[in-house]
Symmetry: C2
Subunit: 334 residues, 2 copies
């Protein structure tokens, strides 16, 4: 639980400025807001007094009377993960285009931070967009009545809006690509930190099965490059005949790339690697990463668009519109 920080007690108000300049509060307001109906010299006098006293208007008082600012809360599990950075950057851009402000919360992938964020966010923003892993009832309880757009998660409660991530076709294309190149033993590095298998794993299983290859060659991997390296080691130890691997995300794939090099396996000749996310960064490694790519710009923009509709009461986007589909982006690693 965060403890509210005491900021410096607000001292100087519009009243002080008014008194100091020998005018009314009204006139101060006019001077500060560049209103027309005010005498030039009076205005200057007020401005001087304001500067003198170090006066700054209260954003709360101002917001209370002119209800014209919109602030969105953006909740991200880990800003250091380039995928979320890209989404955040896109959301910031879309919000800026509308003149909205965005408060960013990084929950550090921890359930407790997520809950504490939910608790405080309600009184700080007008609407929320982001990634959440807690239960819907917790989500609902702490954000009663708040417009919410959930990314990459399909809510049961109608009260939440969501952006669906559809990787089915993209992953199928990836595995098909590998099969077409003659691979028959295709492994996967899934995440390892949760009880249930990931959706990406489900897509992998479906694609492998449909294409007639063994979907069972799976190892867990921590969500980092080191994790990917270790995961690849485990996978190859368990299944030495694996010649291609699909990974939970690009970071893991890059770790696998590095580990493959260490093991003396040339990529893509001895081992083909395909990641997931399509990070800009994947283009910079050697060989450039082949990946099942998500359009993160679209993802962020879509989320902001939808939350805007919730906010203004405009028609919500159709479910068919609220989807970002992944597609295979060829690099040189597979």
């Amino acid at each position: 639980m965060v403890s509210p920080a005491r900021s410096e007690p607000r001292r100087v108000t519009i009243h002080d400025v008014a008194r100091s300049a020998g005018v009314s509060r009204q006139t101060v307001s006019r001077a500060l807001n560049d209103k027309a109906e005010i005498d030039g010299s009076t205005k200057q006098r007020v401005l001087d007094a304001a500067r003198e006293l170090g006066y700054r208007p209260s954003r709360f008082a101002r917001g209370l009377v002119r209800q014209d600012t919109t602030t969105i809360g953006l909740v991200i599990p880990d800003l250091l993960n380039p995928f979320f950075t890209e989404v955040a950057a896109a959301a910031l851009e879309a919000a800026r285009a509308r003149g909205w402000h965005v408060v960013v919360y990084d929950t550090a992938d921890r359930a407790e931070e997520e809950l504490s964020t939910l608790q405080v966010i309600g009184s700080q923003v007008d609407a929320v967009v982001g990634y959440f892993s807690c239960s819907e009832s917790d989500l609902d309880r702490f954000t009663r009545g708040m417009p919410m757009v959930l990314i990459g998660r399909e809510p049961r409660m109608g009260r939440f809006s969501s952006i669906r991530i559809d990787g089915e076709a993209g992953v199928h294309a990836a595995i098909a690509h590998l099969v077409a190149r003659g691979h028959t033993r295709i492994g996967m590095l899934d995440h390892d930190n949760r009880a249930e298998p990931s959706v990406r794993r489900v897509w992998f299983t479906a694609a492998a099965t449909a294409l007639g290859v063994d979907p069972g060659l799976v190892a867990g991997a921590g969500q980092s490059a080191d994790g990917g390296g270790a995961g690849l080691g485990n996978l190859l130890a368990a299944h030495p005949d694996v010649t291609a691997v699909f990974t939970f995300n690009d970071i893991v794939a890059i770790g696998a790339l590095r580990e493959a090099r260490r093991l003396g396996r040339s990529v893509p000749r001895d081992l083909a690697v395909i990641g997931f996310d399509g990070l800009q960064f994947g283009a910079l490694v050697e060989p450039p990463l082949t990946s099942v790519a998500l359009d993160t710009r679209r993802l962020g923009a879509l989320a902001i668009d939808q939350v805007g509709r919730l906010l203004t009461g405009a028609d919500s986007l159709e479910p068919g519109e609220l989807v970002v589909r992944a597609e295979l982006r060829p690099g040189g690693s597979a």
Copy 2:
């Protein structure tokens, strides 16, 4: 200029809830804020009414009366640049630890966005931390009286606080490292988008001169991997005898690494490369990047610490404390 977005007109207030539940406004307030002095059944009735009406308290009204929330504005030139992402993540973490909220503004490296941000930020946050490239007078004009911490820039006006980036010793160590390995023709890829040479170039020149090597082998490079590749091409075309290169930042260095590979130059054997920033990401390329590294976590935390002091009126940190020094971090590229 951003136009204020009209959010849905706030409808239901605490008054409506009170009426609906047949109690007074403060009873509603008590129920919602978990105060002690309230009957259980009354409380439940109020809560039900509130949920029924979809009531959410106004953050402005609440903020106005209990002045206990602190919001920092974080201004970043480009969130997609991993360096700024790291700084932002560190700042977010430090702010969260204090229970502060952070509104993030990405100015997309554009002067106009920076100015429009300055104009609106004043009425949205309690203090500002960030990177700015506009003039101090603009900075001052738009943020009168606002506590400000400038990063990587040394303000003349006493009104601004700042975090200094000191790369002098780090760059010297880098060039000394190269000289020790026998390099005598050491080039630099500086940025190319501004009139004046960068501070990093100044450090390079000083170090090269001190170490007795020619400081004049410099080419410009766009601030991207592609820019780095092109820049290296130009540098080598102009000075074919260059055997080592120091770059403006790690992204540029990674582009140079890639270009060197394309040219058939093995790194570090045929060409040594040293970047600047020390991105986490630099460890993932091959060979891992040697870099003059900045402690981005410390940088972000320091900025938040200092802005906190400004806010509470506590003693400011000593100038000697408000510095982040870069140091050479060995990788495999030099």
